[in-house]
Symmetry: C2
Subunit: 883 residues, 2 copies
């Protein structure tokens, strides 16, 4: 058999290594079956079939598939002793997706397949439990109706029709919960569900079990392309061409009675990383009840009392699986009549904090080497660990408490739908998505939000799993919360009163404690734990690239140094110009009629810049500091509204109309491509002269005070070698004069941020000690794409798959990367010792850092909070390179 692989009965075709073909779920089911674990028998239709379907259209299978499925089904029948569609001993199966990459909840699942009016009677007879049989049947009809036949909620805020019907039945039968519905009610449910399907689709629910099976297989393959799966793949960078496998597996039943259960468990705590069997289960329930978050489940530890043998088996198998896979596992299980069955084992998703702790602990437990532990770190997830938490010393009283589903603190304005979250976020608002519960359709809203709060669900519900995957703060099962999404209001009752919330109100969530606060709570920076320190030692031992920081202020520089920055890669001097007491002098310089006037104004700025630089040199004592000379167009410093113009006119003793005229004269059609960067210094050399004088005098002063100063002076926006040649001469002259008798080596280099600079890098390097690739502007010019304007169409490009991701977030390897390589090669051809770095925002993005490593960079520079991320990314790149 080539397209269908069997598992169960102590053997399997393939195992964990075959994820690409069998998908993650199928591969691990096979692995567990081979290990002799209690896995219900079944088979996996491979991803080869998925690719065939993608190429040929839904429902078009390879010719041999039907026969292989028949053969595999026969094997399952033999192993279980039941027969598919049989009127006496019917085989029921689950049909589940399982892609090579984990996409929890994104695709479809169908349970209890094989039931019809005949087999349900047989199931009732064999189980001796007619209510159970009809409960399975109503679940199956609803799932099949929704997934295969397309009977879904008519709008985002409406209920699925089957849920509505179930609610009606509960009212009619005075039942509080689903499990309180009796056989009669469930028979009615099946009947009404079928009628609803007929009414909505015009088609009958299929009684033929083979028809059911192929319908389900087709729907699972089709669900690969549903919008939420698409979105998830884009967000996580999963290729759309890998496809999903389909797993068909004999059913075991967690809803056969009170000695039955279904549950999920992690071998370690996925929020903290603590070594403990951590999970939840529900008695008398089927698998989807847990992740769907409809009922609030109990902790797995409770199972020890109520299902002791199954609990003991689970503990033993969990330990065995973790040792086997050398990683924290996420398990799904079902207990049928007291017996444990394993339905899934996979690497568990975890928070950044848990990621670090698990990796370090696994080294301590001898399961991994330090380098293997480093490669287990997702650098992007480290971000969470570095983020602020609520100040313990000024913690306000909480108004409610739910489950701490994903840690961290979040402050934002509340919205009640995923669409609203996205709209508000696009306008620059930080929002918290507040829902009764989230569904996979909400994923774009969860991504847009800074935090998620739900009334229902548990630690392993959809919201919790997805939020942890995104590193977003999340509180679930906040039972005090009632949401009325259509009215855009909510209430929080408890602590003696009911508070009304409406769209736009600000709240704070603590995802580590599960607490909810009204308004903005005070935050403090993240405390880095001991495990992170240990990990970063391994990281620094592994990497070859240096990591610097982009810092304009002593505060930023101090933060970055505490995060391990090995120097400043970009100090933007213009940010110093914007401070209120300086901007007036800057404006005076811009408005001056001639060079003499400009020099007078610059003389006022000089001492301020000098003290800025001196402070930076002191903070970075012993480390290199790259200072970029003035870059933005001068009009950025001028006032623009009539009122501002009037104020400036009064301060400078000029007429408002003269200032307005200058503002208008300096305005540009495309300021990004205008009179900025070193072009300013070609026309007004005195600006750079003054800045270099401030650098030199500050350096001399610090050297005299015993500080080790390593200045690197950087010229921005060079397009032709002649610019750098002239400005290098200017810088050297001004620097040597300012240093006077102080002997201090310094270097002069340039930003490479224009395509032309990459092309003529060999000749630019004749005048440069270093290149620092300014990938923000290089991306803008290479793509012809203004970052300020791209918001109008770039999202459509990303959503539509025209570009794989935002080139301002992830360095474009094919276009911008190719020009950078040209630049590095060119530069080193004339100057083999040229130092090469990056100071665009890509310097803190893991895949971009890895690209820089492959291109032979000496260092990356990024914002202070991303320094540890860049260190890890650099280490991973070095380790992957050394493989």
């Amino acid at each position: 058999m080539k397209l269908v692989k069997q598992f169960g009965g102590g053997t399997a075709d393939g195992g964990a290594k075959d994820k690409a073909l069998l998908g993650g779920k199928g591969a691990n089911l096979a692995e567990m079956a081979s290990l002799g674990m209690p896995v219900p028998p079944g088979f996996t239709i491979t991803t080869d079939v998925a690719r065939h379907v993608m190429a040929n259209g839904v429902g078009n299978y390879p010719a041999e598939l039907a026969a292989e499925v028949e053969q595999a089904l026969a094997k399952v029948e033999a192993l279980t002793g039941n027969k598919f569609g049989d009127g006496t001993a019917p085989l029921l199966v689950s049909v589940r997706s399982g892609a090579p990459a984990s996409m929890p909840g994104m695709m479809d699942t169908i349970l209890n397949l094989g039931l019809n009016d005949t087999t349900v009677a047989a199931l009732a007879a064999r189980s001796g439990n007619a209510r159970f049989a009809w409960d399975c049947y109503r679940r199956f009809v609803a799932m099949y109706g929704e997934v295969v036949m397309g009977v879904v909620a008519p709008s985002e805020d409406a209920e699925v029709p089957f849920d509505r019907i179930l609610d009606e039945l509960k009212r009619e039968h005075r039942a509080n919960r689903d499990q309180d519905l009796d056989e009669v009610a469930l028979r009615a449910a099946v009947k009404r569900f079928k009628a609803e399907i007929k009414s909505v689709t015009g088609q009958d629910f299929p009684d033929d079990v083979k028809t059911q099976l192929w319908g389900a297989i087709g729907a699972v393959f089709a669900s690969w392309s549903n919008p939420r799966a698409d979105f998830y793949r884009k967000m996580h960078g999963i290729s759309a061409t890998i496809g999903t496998a389909v797993n068909v597996q004999a059913m075991v039943f967690g809803n056969l009675g009170e000695d039955c259960a279904t549950g999920v468990a992690f071998t370690r705590n996925p929020a903290t990383g603590t070594k403990e069997l951590y999970g939840e289960y529900l008695t008398n329930a089927q698998g989807e009840d847990i992740v769907a978050g409809i009922r609030t489940p109990e902790p797995v530890a409770e199972m020890a009392k109520r299902l002791p043998q199954a609990h003991a088996d689970l503990v033993r198998l969990a330990e065995q699986l973790e040792q086997h896979f050398r990683d924290m596992q996420d398990l799904e299980f079902t207990v049928q009549s007291g017996t444990l069955f394993m339905l899934q084992a996979r690497s568990g998703k975890r928070t950044g904090k848990a990621m670090v702790k698990v990796a370090v602990d696994l080294v301590g437990e001898g399961m991994l080497t330090p380098n293997q532990a480093v490669l287990r770190i997702d650098p992007a997830k480290l971000d969470e660990v570095l983020h602020p938490t609520i100040d313990p010393k000024a913690r306000p009283p909480a108004v409610a408490k739910g489950l701490p589903a994903s840690p961290g603190a979040a402050i934002g304005r509340i919205v009640f739908t995923a669409n609203a979250a996205e709209e508000w976020a696009n306008k620059g608002e930080r929002v918290i998505l507040v829902r009764t519960d989230t569904s996979p359709e909400d994923i774009h809203g969860m991504k847009a939000a800074v935090g998620i709060l739900t009334a229902r669900g548990g630690m392993t519900s959809h919201s919790a799993v997805v939020a942890r995957g995104m590193g977003k703060c999340c509180v679930t099962a906040c039972t005090a919360l009632r949401v009325d999404a259509p009215k855009k209001t909510a209430t929080i009752s408890g602590t003696g009163q009911t508070r009304n919330l409406k769209e736009g109100d600000t709240i704070t969530l603590d995802g580590s404690s599960g607490e909810v606060f009204l308004g903005s709570a005070p935050l403090v920076p993240a405390q880095l734990g001991a495990e992170l320190g240990t990990l970063m030692e391994w990281v620094d031992a592994a990497r070859t690239m240096r990591v610097r920081t982009n810092a304009d202020t002593p505060t930023d520089a101090r933060t970055a140094r505490s995060f391990g920055a090995e120097g400043i890669g970009l100090c933007r001097t213009e940010h110093m110009f914007f401070q209120p007491e300086r901007i007036l002098a800057v404006r005076e310089m811009i408005l001056a009629a001639d060079e003499a006037g400009r020099r007078t104004a610059l003389a006022k700025i000089l001492p301020m810049q000098k003290s800025d630089f001196a402070e930076l040199f002191r903070v970075m004592d012993g480390l290199p500091v790259t200072i970029r000379l003035l870059d933005p167009p001068l009009h950025e410093f001028l006032p623009h509204t009539p009122q501002e113009i009037e104020e400036v006119a009064q301060s400078l003793g000029k007429s408002a109309s003269a200032i307005a005229a200058k503002v208008s004269e300096l305005s540009e059609a495309n300021p990004m491509l205008g009179h900025r960067g070193c072009r300013l210094a070609i026309t007004y050399p005195e600006i750079y002269e003054t800045q270099v004088q401030a650098i030199g005098e500050a350096a001399a002063e610090c050297v005299a005070a015993g500080v080790v100063v390593k200045p690197e002076i950087m010229i921005p926006l060079v397009m032709v070698p002649e610019e750098l040649k002239r400005l290098r001469a200017l810088v050297t002259r001004a620097m040597d004069q300012a240093l006077g008798a102080t002997k201090l080596p310094y270097t002069v280099g340039t930003m490479i941020e224009l395509p032309r600079a990459c092309v003529v890098a060999d000749r630019i390097a004749e005048h440069a000690d270093f290149f620092s690739f300014g990938t923000n502007d290089l991306t803008q010019t290479t793509f012809g794409l203004s970052r300020d304007d791209a918001g109008r169409f770039l999202p459509a490009y990303i959503d539509g798959g025209v570009v794989p991701n935002d080139p301002f977030a992830v360095l474009d390897p094919e276009g911008v990367g190719a020009l950078i390589e040209l630049g590095v090669r060119g530069g080193r051809s004339t100057r083999p010792d040229l130092k090469v770095g990056i100071c665009g925002e890509h310097g803190g993005e893991p895949s971009s850092v890895e690209l820089c490593h492959r291109m032979g960079f000496d260092y990356v520079s990024c914002s202070p909070f991303r320094v540890p991320i860049a260190r890890v990314a650099a280490a991973r790149a070095a380790l992957l390179d050394g493989k």
Copy 2:
């Protein structure tokens, strides 16, 4: 001797082939001397010395130079029998510059060097003409004082002090003209000149003749770097490192009496190309009197009567030199006591019309092959031939008439200084520079002006020579004109009345007739002569690249076709959108709330676009037509002032505030890099669908009417292959649908105008039948340089030599060119039959066209009037390539 080369006495060190070392003047003096022509003996200090001076500073010469000059001077003394500084038979010399490239009037010359109070007496005695001797002396002191000692006019509008003193003397001595001053007056002039020098510089005029000689040599070398020479080199693309030679030559005197003369002559008419000895002379004058334009000279033909032998010799030598050099010659000569001496021969500058006629005639006379004739054509100068002239059927009465110094018609507003000309031109005004006479200092104003009118000067005066070189219309010696530059007024008297003109008034010049008109005269397109037709046949036989045109309207297309365009390379569809009756529908489309609204508006635009395309297809019957789909950002079509917004609001029945909100929403920080080009079609596919439908339906209609239609549909601003892949599918679908049953091949290609597109050209070519390099935008993005904003600093870059020229005028070979080569190579690597062209404005600039040829382009496309220029440039490139 290595640094100094001798000529005269029938032999010479070197000849015409040694221009790089001897300069043009020195090389041709040597050549003429070797041919046995009457050349006064002398020597040339080579350009090697100039380069030594440039490297080591003014006055720093190679050690061996002094001895070599002594030796050469001794040889001149031997050949003339006179001795430098001798009290009895003094040798006088001229010292003149002479660069490898012709730079007429840009550097300095000194005549009569070797005179002092002793030698002037000897000269008086030997010539028997004391007045002559003192005339030479006063000329020498004035020239030396100005050129070597720096006594110059204190401001642009002021007189040189020596001219002022001479005017005073003329008043005192009641003399009308310089030649009316007697010996006494001239002695007084010398005395006062020396006093002026002492007073201005604090230094004595040097009596020592060797000091004089080295002073003059130093001044000539230094004049290489004066601002007007710098400007001239930049304008003509002459390298600053080639340096000038210095020619020291025994004086012959045209001012020794009435049988003496000095003159210049062309072997053919430099304005029309007619074969005739064409020139001017002045009796009893020195060389500089002619080109300085102080006295109005007589036509050379008159010499036959007054100096018959000299005239006959001149005619004979002129013929001989033209045959020898196989080109029209520009000659300088002096007649001393009836004997002709040749002082210079060089290729004559000529108008575009003369250039064409001379080249074609020389082929007819057997001196050149057709291909050699094509290589003699400066494509840029053809521009003049193609420009409009005054409509002969509606010619207004002229108010004055001068000499037709440089042909063509010019309409502009008058200014009276070169600085004003430049200022007004920078503001976008077309100006005519009106001067009593121009001097080399006016060159930047002449460049800025569209035409030049002077009261003095002749056909070979400075204004005339420079204007012809620039291809500008010029009228000189307009004696009815009186200019008062400081008051910014002028008068034209004659035709019965005096008319007052002031700065800003509009006049029209006819440079072919010498006539001046008030206001704007009606113009008609250029009439292409038979010679041009012949030349273009040779051109088309020689070239391998096709030449197309950029044309948006049937009128442009018709003009271009008449100029030989072989298709349309760029039809910008947006220009059609701007027409008044259409813009409303376009705005309705932009303001529509959704796709349905946009489609409704587009349906109104469809029939108009369709008829545009049909008309273009008919005009270009049989030739390819490349249509670029919509490119500019949509906000360009919206109203911007409150009044316009109000008008549009009323027309569309919307509120002004809603329209203002949309205008504000669509405004962009950097529109050049914004939501434009194919990005519009990725977000609003219906726009391109409609345009393609219009193209397809128009094509089908034309095919049915028997027109041969070759549509090429072009997608702008592609940055990633996926854009083109999708839009090609869209275009193909819409086109096939619109064509219906009409069988018509068409192609789909793309602009390559972003650096990223060049880098990933291999993959873009998978979806493209052709690439058209949009070098305007490619230059903007490669340099990071907005064309709209560069005016603020690019002139400083060009003037300061940071960049060699304006990259928007001349395609940058190192940066943009390298990316284009990458793009061509990449594109043809996946698609060997890829058609490659250029449609930026560089497509009509000769050096850029030659670069395109070298890079393997199939065609260039340019504006209609530049089509012949591009054809010639393409032919030259092919001929140079084949060498």
